[in-house]
Amino acid sequence: MKHIFRCTLVVLTISLAVPAQAHRAWMLPSATVLSGESPWITVDAAVSNDLFYFEHVPLRLSGIGESAAKDEGRAPMPLHILAPDGSTLEGRNGKTGRYRTTFDVPLEQKGTYKLALANARIMATYTENGERVRWMGPIDQLHKNLPEAAEDLQVIQGSSRMEVFVTSGSPSDSVFVPTNRGLELSPVTHPNDLYAGETAEFRFTLDGQPAADVAVVVIPGGNRYRDALGEIRTMTDADGKVSITWPAAGMYWMEAQYDTAEGVTAPVTRRRASYSATLEVLAL
């Protein structure tokens, strides 16, 4: 009983995947196209309303600048940095401040690196004794944690992925091998080869299959200095593809969201998947 109440309280402050309608979670690299021997980048990670401004909370990443304040309800997420040769590396000089987490990444290899945060959880909601209760956790723990008297059970299978791509020297595509879990990006246009006025093509997959009818939104950064949000809204086609024509150079935030009650297997009643990325578009 006590356990459920504690879970409820904790659940109210933890987000499954930070929902786009409330805030946006993002990573912002200092650069995505680099030349020279062993350049470094520095990355900011934050949760905020506006892009790309730090005004809410830092994105807490495990092993990166964890401060004493980590018990504020958000569990740190593991950051995965994948090098061109398939090895992984750790962020360095990490620090979590009031509004952002910052860390550095040395790029010793030539090619494209991928920084990724991925999350997969089950969220179950049910009515017990007239109250709506929520539980989150891995699917194999679900039945243990559901009381007998659970009514109106809804089970949402959720996954989220956030990525940033950085290239030192010539771009490579080894980091685009999908995990086939959740919503993923298989770029047709390399994400570090984006230029203002040109059209990029991206392909999304859901659990390894082409993700059709996925809502994709692209928002240019710097919205503090203009009235209109300036978002580009589009949907993936039957092959999971979208085309984006970049209006101007700058940093962009892209989010793809998938939400359906169809084709799910019991006990899951709903499938939600999201993917977001920070993309840098250069001037021609």
């Binding site: 680099l34 030349s35 020279g36 021997e37 290239t167 010539s170 771009p171």
Partner: protein
């Protein structure tokens, strides 16, 4: 007997080359003298394009002298050159890399019988020149030309900021 035959062939070969006098391409690049508090010589790249495709590099002027090849850090600021060619190269490259040039007019002469011109298929080409300056701006100019040239022609373009006059002269 054998030796003199070889010598004769070499002479004949040499004579044949000089008779078919190769076409020439001459480029004049003016780097402007700028009145700024902190002046750095610009990074400059010159290359040939055809139908928006990179065909051949001609020259890249950047800070070669810095220790640990630190000058390479800013090559990406030559955005178009970096994208079309530079990022796939291991710098420095003999015959391509050179030090940055001071303000003034600089000449490059390309011989039609040598790389990169000797391998050019006949057609329309564009000479592209891109310049980027530390704590300054970036500029790109294009000069179209036909190869091989049927007659001597000179064309020029004038930059606004980081490049002055760039002159291209072709002669058959």
């Amino acid at each position: 007997m054998h030796k003199s035959l070889l010598v004769f062939c070499a002479l004949a070969g040499g004579l044949a080359t000089s008779l078919t006098s190769a076409a020439q391409l001459e480029i004049e690049v003016q780097i402007p003298r700028l009145q700024v508090a902190e002046y750095h010589r610009p990074y400059v790249a010159l290359w040939l394009e055809q139908d928006d495709q990179h065909i051949a590099d001609i020259a890249v002027w950047y800070d070669l002298r810095l220790a640990d090849q630190e000058g390479e850090k800013w090559l990406k600021d030559l955005r178009q050159w970096w994208r079309r060619s530079g990022r796939g190269l291991e710098m420095p490259i003999d015959g391509l890399s050179a030090a940055t040039r001071p303000p003034g007019t600089h000449r490059l002469q390309l011989d039609g019988a040598q790389a990169p011109l000797e391998k050019l298929e006949p057609g329309a080409y564009v000479l592209v020149i891109e310049a980027a300056r530390e704590v300054g701006g970036r500029e790109l100019l294009r000069l179209p030309f036909q190869w091989p040239p049927q007659q001597s022609l000179t064309s020029s373009a004038l930059g606004n900021s980081e490049l002055g006059r760039v002159r291209l002269s072709v002669s058959p």
